[in-house]
Symmetry: C2
Subunit: 461 residues, 2 copies
């Protein structure tokens, strides 16, 4: 079975003539939601000269490339100090590792300190960002044809996209202007049950949600936990903006989860940096089979992960671990300065909106916005269609970028809304950006007036 | 919408009492194949004292932690030399990046030099190992309920596991002892068509396959390409062991793909290191929709990736890029020494097998094995059941580990075979390992004789 032959590096390969039909590809690839994540990640690159309120990215100013080397070094030193041999450390960095992750102890310690989440390391799975966590959790929990995922509308696109890949039905419950309504969710759950479907889990971003910016009140949290226990519904809690927001956050749903109904998704993309692609899932629920044998839900998620990414990059885990070690596990302290920075950025955007669109003017233009107390996002309602054509006009003619809110409505909505991200811009750009945005809004609204269209309030008055 | 409240870090959270039924989880979680990857990655940790022929891992001796720092540094310097500003380099490392990957140009250059694959960088998607590539390709291509994936049996578990997650039907074609048979594959394709199903793609490891160690002959490659074009079947080519094998490899299927039927999966796990979790897909096929608009298959895979992992770790991409730069893109040169090392390790295992199980003795014990010319694996047939119980006896009583071949047969088979990995052990361990293995085989066979069972030749004579 020995091998002979050689590679023909000189003979140029003609371009592949194969044509595949889009209709032969998986249905998710014809769903616009799958374009959204790439749009959000790449729109800023498409218009490099524009001021961009589009990307849900951390501010660049806190980053320093030398830190990457220092954090990896600190993790290696930490392993050595624990008594690991050079060989063992080399293996940890270079080889395939434990599917569920090699830094779970450090993450579990950190969750105990920062989030009131006290679970053994075995309940965790380290993932390639919270996005992989979503895919794992959906794949594990949604099993039967009648199982459905419940979400609020508007909703983060990552969970919708993951559901589309797995052909999982999504039921969206419209979120009122003032934020999540437990009664509306319960009504939807009851309605789905009556239709013969099984609402299996509800996905929620309790703190400074993406895209709406809303936060669940303490009462709403308590009602949601009760509802979930009552209706045998799991809660998928995703809360990446908690520790990058000013003030003391409300308790996580997981920390108040007496009934074991919450699966908590964690992300280091906002509190450390996105490029590392490290997140985790807290999944301490017990799984029992017919013969009474039990495992943890985390074990089951790891089995799925082994067929998605095998394990999370050891380099990425090392840099996250080194960062945790530098802060004695306190991600909150690590983010004290960024949280204050983001709080000021949100306030600066709100001040500039007020300045350029004072009450009388915004009433005339049909503009309103909400006022989140933290997080990366706020929503603006306008009187014209905020579609991609409008976005292109904003970028090209006014040098300003935002995100169409319609991307976040699984079954329609948000047609006259935009999401503004307040996190990414340097302070000096915010004033100029809002000046441009106000100019764009005025021009679009006047264009509509001239072309004889009435000025409405947007589709969710 | 401002937030008040505090985290109750003192009140201990009671253990979550939730119990979920396994029967309520996705069917893949009751399939033994999902345990296999974790087994393969973790079995060596479970028996730290044993000599392990189980893991398909690179040899540790080529690794040095300081190289990680040097490679990342080299990539940063490379970007600076290209004229990138500090800010741009920081963004490349820290922020969300292009979904399809930021080092595609370097990979495309390397493929041109090493593999005779000449495609534009836009045809590539950088993935979290080849495993994520498998998931993306299967998700894109397998769309209708009647679409099926064709594989050889035995087959790499990663592709079967990914198919299970996506509820994709797999049709396995038994591979004869001497290696892949194109006629058998064609017969199976015709049979599936007659059943009303559409064979959509055939997954194959052409060089030193995992687990069988077999390599497709030049003639088999050419027949397979013809068959694929004739039957509108795509080929998913996965060939991680090419450049870590001695001698000049045969041309990749992709380099000879005149009809555009090959999607090529790449992996840096064997030629650099697994911990980085970097692979790629070459997908230069055109996708055309009803209105004649075309995209590349790579664009579609990136859309799926955006909902699986968003993008591949920038740190991991940096270390791979730095390694490529250090070798002027020639992964083959980078692996000249390892390839020779692995070739010698394979020969050493074969020599030791011959020494401890000479012709007369192996005939008496009912033992045979194949003789791959490269790669990490060879197969051993024995006369007793090579199940997990036998593996535990081998580890506990003889201090030697191997992999049950049954893991690699999607619809049964391999019950009296073991896979030996020749890549991972240090040279000094090989002799002792095979001594122990021969002792174990003799004891098991005699045990069977004593308990009155006949000695057979294994299920695929």
């Amino acid at each position: 079975m020995s091998v002979n032959g050689m590679i023909d590096v000189n003979g140029p390969m003609p371009p592949a003539p194969a044509m595949l039909r889009r209709s032969d590809l998986h249905a998710s690839l014809s769903d616009p939601v799958l374009d959204t994540m790439t749009f959000l990640n790449e729109v800023t690159m498409r218009f490099p000269e524009a001021i961009s309120f589009a990307p849900g990215r951390p501010y660049d100013g806190f980053f320093d490339n030398e830190d990457i080397f220092a954090h990896i070094r600190r993790y290696l030193d930490h392993l050595a100090a624990k008594g690991w041999s050079d060989q063992e450390i080399r293996t940890a960095m270079y080889q395939y590792g434990t599917t569920a992750g090699q830094i779970r102890e450090l993450i579990a310690d950190s969750l105990r300190l920062d989030e009131g989440i006290d679970v053994p390391a075995e309940s965790l799975v380290v993932t390639v960002g919270a996005q992989e966590g979503m895919l794992l959790v959906l794949r594990a929990l949604i099993a039967a044809p009648d199982d459905v995922l419940m979400v609020s509308s508007p909703c983060y696109v990552g969970i919708i996209g993951a559901a589309r890949l797995l052909d999982i039905p999504v039921v969206d419950v419209e979120e009122p202007e003032e934020g999540f309504s437990c009664a509306d969710l319960e009504a939807a759950v009851v309605r789905e049950r009556a239709r013969g479907r099984r609402p299996r889990a509800f996905y929620v971003v309790p703190d400074h949600s993406n895209p709406s910016g809303t936060t669940l009140s303490p009462q709403a949290r308590s009602e949601l936990l009760d509802l979930a226990a009552r209706h045998d519904l799991l809660i998928i809690e995703d809360s990446p903006y908690r520790l990058v927001s000013p003030g003391t956050p409300l308790p996580t749903l997981k920390s108040q989860d007496r009934a074991g109904v919450v699966v908590h998704l964690g992300s280091y993309s906002k509190v450390m940096f996105p490029g590392a692609r490290v997140g985790y899932v807290v999944a301490d629920q017990c799984i029992v089979d017919g013969s009474g044998r039990t495992t943890l839900l985390a074990d089951e998620l790891a089995k799925i992960k082994s067929m998605v990414t095998v394990n999370t990059s050891s380099l990425s885990q090392a840099v996250v671990a080194g960062t945790l070690l530098a802060a004695d596990g306190r991600v909150s302290e690590l983010n004290a300065k960024p949280a204050s920075y983001y709080g000021e950025a949100m306030q600066a955007v709100l001040r500039q909106l007020e300045r350029h669109l004072p009450a009388e003017r915004r009433q005339r233009l049909g503009v309103t916005w909400n006022t989140p107390g933290g997080g990366y996002f706020l929503n603006l309602r306008v009187s014209f269609e905020t579609d991609e054509a409008a976005l292109n006009r904003a970028a090209r003619d006014f040098g300003v970028i935002w995100t169409p809110m319609r991307y976040f409505y699984p079954s329609g909505g948000g047609e006259r809304m935009m999401r503004l991200s307040t996190s990414y811009l340097a302070p000096r750009e915010i004033g100029e950006g809002i000046t441009r945005l106000a100019g764009f809004i005025a021009a679009e609204t006047e264009q509509r007036s001239i072309s004889g269209q009435s000025i409405g309030r947007g589709e969710h008055p």
